[in-house]
Amino acid sequence: MTVNQMKLLIGGVQLRDGVSTVADLVGRILTRAGLHVLSVERSFASTIYGAHQFDPLVVSAAPLLSWGDRAVDVLVGLEYDSNPDAPQQPNRDTIRQHGGDLVEGGVLLYDSSGGPVNTEALQARGGQVFAIPARDIALRELKKEVVKNLIMTGALFRLLEFDQDERWLRQLLEERFGRKGAAIVDLNLEAARRGRTLVERILEDRRRPSVGYRIEAVRSASPAVYVSGNEALSIGAVEAGVRFYAGYPITPASGILEYMERHLPGYGGRVLQGANERESIRAALGASVTGVLSMVGTSGPGLSLKVEEIGVSGTTETPLVIVDAMRAGPSTGMPTKTEQGDLTLVTGGGHGEIPRIVLAPSTIDECYTLMRDAVRLSDKYQCPVFFLTDLNLSEGRMTVAESVFRSGGASIARHVATEEDVRGARYLRYRLTDSGISPRLIPGQRGGVSKISSTEHDEFGFVTTDPAMRVAQMDKRMRKLHTYLREDAKAPQVYGHLGRGPTLVGWGGTKLALLDARERLRREGTEAAVVHFTHLWPFPTHLAKPLLDTGRPVVVCEHNYSGQFADLVQAHCLVPTRRVLKYNGRTLYPSEVVRAVQEVTHNGAVAVRLGGKDPVMVEVSIDA
């Protein structure tokens, strides 16, 4: 019997079958029941309707190490038919695409309303198949098609021997539908009961009381929530003091826009859905000019359109937090698939040289905690601060203890000058200072006027091409980055002992896979360390080089083709890097990292490309 440790995968036809509705319901209930749930490999298509969609959920009694590999313990197919009108529609894709990933003895639950599916091969491998006509029952007996999902949920909960007294489900349904009347709650509960009964009967027929997987509620010391990265970072922004948000609909950053539209006005803020990407960022800059902490959110294609304004923010020294929820590029790329391909764009995008700071959270809880830093640094250094998430982090969900969210407390301390501060000397918006940071008076305050200019300017803000002043202003802006490196840059997080074996280097959302791989390598006798970066730019060479310059192989793992972060590490630390690269739109799996590390350490590979037709492609240096 496996208790409280499994990977579920729920699949179906996008929009029609409510895959994410069921997955979020299950994740939320299990979180309430004291378990830890991680669902970052959400897969949906850039269409509204009809494509195959799936949501894997990893469940555990302890905080999760990672999302694991492809292997699935319990597979739930919500799709019910092979559509005769459109046979090419992927209506049995959950079984077709993921059946092969089912572990020996794993469980398949599917809706057989459209007829049974041949699962002999699966059963031959020990798979336990449960076919229930959920949609037929929903339509014919309960007269409401949509409750088929509750029938399936009830069936799933019975298979997992969970919530036998309906306590958790009833509570959630009452909260969600209570306003619409008890009848709707009862109908949904009745649907869940039908599913439960159907599974019960099959188990009785097979004379097996259990499928070998069970979920038991755990008494948890602190309550937790099931939160997405977009929600977590939005809460972090609201708490830090952001009161103006602008965006333009784009996957996977739209969630921030929707969340902010719903909640920021309650905190006295305003949210603008721009007529385009450029209006969004320009309006946010305008708001920031008046002293309001401002943020925009977008993804790669939107950021490409915003690039011109990065220079405006940097040169006018107008604070701005720019969230880039990365998706697979270039161009339109794969809009609903993850990647870490924008690092070069955020560290170097734009003409000329622009002072900027780049941060990247590595987990969903860090989306919240690190956002505070992003807002604070933008205000302190008066420059653009990029906050790099990816599709998995932004759209994925994870169980996070509520106590995490109380770690921040009050808003950030503002770095804004008052009339008192500037009294005495003539106020100069771009005063030359040792730190590079000029006292910033807000338009509307007395004490001086701000001539805020994106053309090169003198200390007052008047346009100039005077060579000496140009150098002074350029140096002043760039000096802020030195101040940042001295006062605010954070060293990468280190796991394990450096110097005993290969060093796995990562940034952003790959962290949990690297930590999992480290554990697996240790079990195999390889002592690897993980060095994971959150503060990416300006590159903290003084903090990173001592960690990486150990003489052991430095293996940088990232979701892009060229190894954009590996390039930074190599250029700044002057240590050679080996690269583990995955850019097929799918998450990095710990088993792949283990395999790649073996290729690097034993076979001398300089680069390992994952996830193509050959799952592992090895490149050996031509110098070797």
């Binding site: 939320r28 309430r32 929530v225 939160v227 929600e231 809460i235 708490e239 003091g241 009161r243 103006f244 909640h263 905190y267 006295g268 803020g269 305003r270 603008l272 721009g274 007529a275 385009n276 450029r278 209006e279 320009r282 309006a283 946010a284 800059l285 305008g286 708001a287 920031s288 000019v289 008046t290 002293g291 309001v292 401002s294 304004e309 405006v312 006018t316 969210f405 109380r406 009050a410 808003s411 301390a413 503002r414 804004v416 807000i442 338009p443 509307g444 305050q445 007395r446 004490g447 001086g448 006027v449 701000s450 001539k451 805020i452 200019s453 994106s454 007052f460 803000g461 008047f462 346009v463």
Partner: protein, 290 residues
Amino acid sequence: MPETAQTTRAIWDQNAAPRHRIQWCPGCGDYAVLNAVKAAVTSLELTPSELLLVAGIGCSGQIRNYLNGNSFYGTHGGALAYALGAKMANPELTVLVMAGDGDTLAIGIENFVHACRRDPDITLVLMNNGVYGLTKGQDSPSAGLGQPDWKPSEEHPPFIDPVEVALTCGATFIGQGFSGDPKHAAQLIVEGVRHRGFAVINDFSPCVTYNKVNTYDWFRAHVEPVPASHDPSSKAAAWELVRDFRDRGKLPTGIVYRAAREKGGAAKRLPMWPDELARADVDPLVKRLR
């Protein structure tokens, strides 16, 4: 000097303090725009710290250096969008946008159209000269005005009339002036700033160096005041006026349209000071996720 005159003089001095060497060509229409803006802010008794001037790119954008108010200068075509955000964030600021016809009607027309729709309480002074002067005289979207034999093609399309675009897209105050009459332009700006909503003032400002068609003399021959009988609160009348002037080959000066309504509920400045932000409690947000 009586006290009021002294106050007026003081405000004029504060706003007009010559700080930067003026680098417009002798005779440039923009001098008159500058004087009109100075006169307008003086009669509105606005001090430099209460103003935010957002300038476009081009000769027109230099105006920010010749006025003493707070100013912001960003990218080509972006002025109205910066101004939108600034006014949304701090409605207490008087936000004036000063941009040329290339900035507003070519690279920035997206912002012009949507500013008309959004109707923020800002005033646009469109310094319209028919050319890209700073880059030495290329056609702007206003090129073709006053050239009846202009043969439209993909390369040289007919000119855009900002008054018509503004009327179509929902601007709630539309006026037109001319640098040959800065007193009138100043009155228009005063009216525009007083209007609660997006005010578009198309101010013809001849380029003496590169535009050999739309000269002061040409404008003097073609502008004609909006008749006293015109009812600017009627959109139908505004369209009628525009059509009538166009058919007669004339350019109306004065208030073409002014929506007869007060914009509801004065918006508040967004929280930004520590004492305003400290009250934020995100617990309710976290609890909703349970």
